[in-house]
């Protein structure tokens, strides 16, 4: 069993990855942490992402242990600089 999440990359992370969004398959019951490990495990360019990026799941900041469900929107949030 697996589930598919929609990952988003913004600003510097979009530049690093070379894409602004991507569908990723993770195992049933995977957490945010598992997703990041899975992606970085693919090597370049994903290895350029930090090991512990800030993440938002469905538009809310989420901890590494947050479980993912199919259809979730998982955003990789570079250090913010609004204002």
């Amino acid at each position: 069993m697996s589930c598919t999440v929609r990952t988003l990359f913004f600003a510097a992370y979009r530049d690093l990855v070379g894409a602004s969004e991507m569908e990723v398959e993770v195992a049933e019951g995977a957490t945010v942490r598992d997703l990041v490990v899975e992606l970085r495990g693919r090597g370049e360019p994903f290895l350029r992402l930090p090991e512990d990026p800030a993440i938002a799941v469905n538009r809310t900041y989420a901890g590494a242990g947050e479980p993912l469900r199919s259809g979730d929107e998982v955003a990789f949030i570079p250090p913010v600089a609004g204002g």
């Binding site: 945010v32 800030a54 938002a56 949030i77 600089a81």
Partner: protein, 152 residues
């Protein structure tokens, strides 16, 4: 308690943001305006691009305004953040607060702008006079993801 929060593409008119607050019981109003300035850490800047995770930014902005209103006893807060290409002197953010007394207005205004800097999913890319450009070094929003640690 009335709050207004928006992420916009068109130019911000700070006066119209200020006009969203105010109430017969309020003796103080405070308007903060952030504008694109011509320098950053010693480099001449000619413009700035603001990117945002727009759907989330709108939510976070509203949450910040609501927190300020609840925690700080202000009754009216309006905040508007712009995204896109901005020229020097253009307004990137406007925060208006009104309250019966001034101490609450200052506290709420400061809270909103400081939380924006900490949490709002917005990024800016500086365009320098010398032709270069770079993402402005930002602040890591919490909670962070301790990938390397085991368990939760």
């Amino acid at each position: 308690m009335v709050t207004y929060a928006a992420v916009v593409h068109d130019p911000i008119d700070p006066g119209s943001v200020l006009a969203r607050v105010g109430h017969p019981e309020d003796g103080a109003a405070l308007l903060f305006v952030g504008v694109v300035r011509n320098h950053a850490e010693g480099r001449a800047v000619r413009g700035m691009r603001y990117d945002a995770y727009e759907e989330m930014a709108a939510q976070v902005l509203r949450a910040i305004a609501d927190e300020a209103a609840r925690a700080l006893g202000t009754d009216r807060i309006a905040v508007v953040h712009r995204v896109g290409e901005l020229s020097l002197g253009e307004t990137s953010v406007a925060v208006a607060v009104s309250s019966p007394h001034r101490a609450e207005a200052y506290a709420a205004s400061r809270y909103v702008i400081e939380e924006i800097k900490k949490r709002l999913p917005v990024w800016k890319r500086e365009h320098y006079e010398d032709g270069g450009q770079a993402w402005v070094q930002g602040v890591t929003p919490t909670p962070t993801v301790p990938i390397s640690g085991g368990g939760e």
